[in-house]
């Protein structure tokens, strides 16, 4: 049983891994210097790692974190939350306002601010969760509310254009900790990933979430409360969103309510899809979504390195993404499986199983 499960899991990751491999190869042929990594000293006197690879892993941090939470909501509810960017901005605003209300910025007040913004983000996400789980409103409609008004709420919270927070702790959180050349946001991704891994390791949340996603009625009959599971997925997404909001705010040392985490909801959904997860809910693989996030960022950075105008990047990205998503579609998969069967008849049975699944 465990053997077949692992096989089907790898199958899910096949397309994103191949896509990543092609991107890596493409850049290697285009310009091997793309992968060069250096060390430099910035204005604060900190050593920082430089190079496109570091830039990709660093810039994708917020997206990777939100994609993790989005995977869970997708699996449990069979729909997506499109208000992650807006609520992330609210979280960032709360973070800034809490620090401004405190007399000084030190480890204690920063922790307090993180707690405060986590609480608020969870509250907002729980609001979405109640609409989806209790009132059974379609997730996209339910989250459209905060998607449209979230950024205005963020502006009310901060009450000014771009409030600044200036402190060594903030820049350590958004860029690099003195003495550690690796960008701090990367540790944020690792931390959130670890927390989720521990949760899945020691609870039955994965099983419960998948069963609610696959068949809500059957799950209920087996003693699982679908409302609680769905709400919980939104609460976890809330934590992820708060983490992304804090990272985004610390990067700039300010919160800009109009553009912090802008368009990240679409990229996050895309990351979930590229990761081979079914957007209709059910079984999921968070590692796939994380891979998806890095693929999206790698695509952006590759295009930038090719000096494509940032304004036109979305169009180029769209073309590549269509190809990746098409390659992962059931129809194409079945066709590929047929093709495989013709070439290697003896291994056909496993491949067909994959294609139908």
């Amino acid at each position: 049983m465990s053997n077949t499960k692992r096989k089907s899991g790898l199958g899910q990751l096949l397309i994103p891994l191949v896509a990543l491999g092609i991107l890596l190869l493409f850049n290697l042929i285009r310009d091997p210097g793309f992968y060069s990594i250096g060390i430099a000293v910035n204005n604060s006197g900190n050593k920082v790692l430089t190079g496109n690879v570091i830039s990709i892993i660093d810039s994708a941090s917020e997206l990777a974190i939100i994609a993790m939470g989005m995977t869970l909501v997708t699996a449990a509810c069979g729909g997506q939350d499109i208000s992650v960017g807006a609520v992330g901005t609210i979280a960032g605003s709360i973070f800034v306002q809490t620090l401004k209300a405190c007399s000084a910025i030190n480890i204690g007040t920063v922790l307090l601010a993180i707690l405060a913004c986590c609480a608020v983000a969870i509250l907002f996400k729980a609001f979405n969760g109640v609409l989806v789980a209790v009132f059974r409103i379609q997730p996209m409609i339910a989250t459209l509310i905060l998607y449209s008004c979230g950024r205005s709420i963020a502006y009310w919270i901060v009450g000014s254009a771009t409030p600044q927070i200036d402190s060594p702790i903030i820049s350590a959180m958004g860029m690099t900790i003195p003495g550690v050349p690796v960008p701090t946001p990367i540790f944020g991704v690792v931390l959130v990933g670890l927390i989720l891994t521990v949760i899945f390791k020691f609870t039955n949340l994965r099983l419960y979430t998948e069963s609610v996603g696959v068949n809500q009625g059957a799950a209920r009959l087996n003693g699982i409360n679908p409302i609680a599971i769905k709400l919980l997925s939104f609460v976890i997404l809330g934590m992820c969103v708060a983490a992304a909001g804090v990272i985004g705010t610390c990067r700039m040392g300010q919160v800009s309510h109009k553009t912090l985490l802008i368009d990240i909801e679409m990229d996050a959904i895309l990351a979930v899809a590229i990761g081979g997860n079914n957007l209709g809910g059910g079984r999921f693989k968070i590692s796939g979504s994380i891979l998806g996030a890095y693929i999206i960022q790698m695509l952006t950075t590759t295009l930038l390195a090719m000096r494509v105008d940032p304004v036109n990047i979305k169009a180029y990205k769209a073309v590549v993404i269509i190809i990746i998503v098409m390659a992962g579609s059931p129809v194409v998969k079945a066709k590929l499986a047929q093709l495989w069967q013709r070439i290697r008849p003896e291994t056909a049975s496993a491949a067909i199983g994959k294609g139908v699944n």
Partner: protein, 325 residues
């Protein structure tokens, strides 16, 4: 005869009453501004207007803040229909105002431009209280030239395209880059309608990722300069007085001037957001039947502005010229 005399007297009384009543009535003004959330500059500007055009000061003021030209025009047309006495505008775009301003003129409404000029016949407005944006650009470019660098490789972050501030600050730099072979424009991008720091950061990241070599960042407001600086810090590129890259901003927010004082930036160009008091004076003069004096051929009154150098700025400068907190 007696009756006629009485009638005339009564009429005169009515007329004088009406005049007295009219003098007591607040002056109706419609103020069209940009979104205060745009920048520290705009916030200071909106607050300044709110502080001057108050009921205590004899005004019945209506405020509209709209980020785009079409919303602003809508607001102006509403004000004309409602019949205000004066309209004050800081235009999102320099063109497209002729029809609306003509309608205002026909309705006998006085129009004051503040902060940003509009590209139209000066007959269509009463006066303009503006910054000489072009002069801000010229001053900044002259300062840059005075450094006597061997090469000028510029990363240019523009503001809202088409706005007077963007055009005024961009053109002197663009002209210099075309005229002087030592000056090259490495990359040009815009922070968009909201002069956005995040957009500016993305442009800088794009330039860094593409391996482009630049030694000057010319950002058309403070927030965008800070966005670029965040990208520089993340990539280990030094900046400021002792750094590899020269950082320039505009607006003179207090926090930005502090960056200058700390040596992280090199230059900040002033742009005064305080026009309300001057306009108030002019309206009061007009109401008293006087005429506005001291206007140039474009009917402008120019706010005086300067630029600050990180090597010479003082705490006192920050207290005097800095905006915000």
């Amino acid at each position: 005869m007696k009756k006629l005399f009485a009638l005339v007297l009564a009429l005169m009384l009515c007329a004088s009453l009406a005049i007295v009543a009219h003098a007591d009535e607040p002056i109706k003004v419609g103020i069209i501004n940009l979104d205060p959330a745009e920048s520290g500059y705009r916030e200071a500007n909106v607050n300044d207007l709110h502080a001057v055009f108050t009921a205590e000061n004899g005004y019945d003021a209506r405020f509209v803040t709209a980020p785009t030209a079409d919303l602003q025009l809508q607001a102006a047309n509403t004000f004309i229909t409602e019949g205000v006495d004066y309209i004050l505008v800081s235009a999102a775009e320099t063109t497209g105002w002729d029809e609306t301003l003509e309608a205002a003129k026909e309705a006998g409404i006085g129009v004051f431009l503040f902060d940003r000029m509009i590209d139209c016949d000066p007959e269509l407005y009463t006066a303009a209280v503006v910054s000489d944006m072009r002069n801000e650009g010229v001053t900044a470019v002259a300062w840059l030239e005075s450094l006597g660098l061997e090469e000028y490789k510029v990363l240019h972050i523009q503001g809202q395209l088409g706005s007077a501030a963007q055009i005024g600050r961009s053109e002197p730099l663009q002209e210099k880059c075309e005229a002087d072979e030592k000056w090259t424009m490495v990359r040009e991008g815009t922070g968009g309608d909201s002069w956005d720091p995040n957009e500016a950061r993305k442009i800088a990241e794009a330039a860094i990722n593409a391996g482009e070599d630049f030694n000057i960042v010319y950002a058309e407001n403070d927030g965008m300069a800070q966005g670029v600086v965040a990208a520089l810090d993340a990539s280990g590129i030094t900046h400021g007085v002792n750094g590899d890259v020269i950082v320039m901003g505009f607006d003179c927010n207090k926090w930005a001037l502090r960056e200058l004082l700390a040596g992280n930036w090199n230059y900040d160009g002033q742009c005064s957001p305080f026009q309300a008091a001057l306009i108030d004076q002019m309206i009061k003069t007009l109401q008293a039947g006087g005429e506005i004096e001291g206007l140039n051929e474009l009917k402008q009154i120019i706010n005086e502005e300067k630029g600050f150098d990180a090597r010479t700025i003082t705490e006192e400068d920050i207290a005097t010229y800095g905006l915000g907190e």
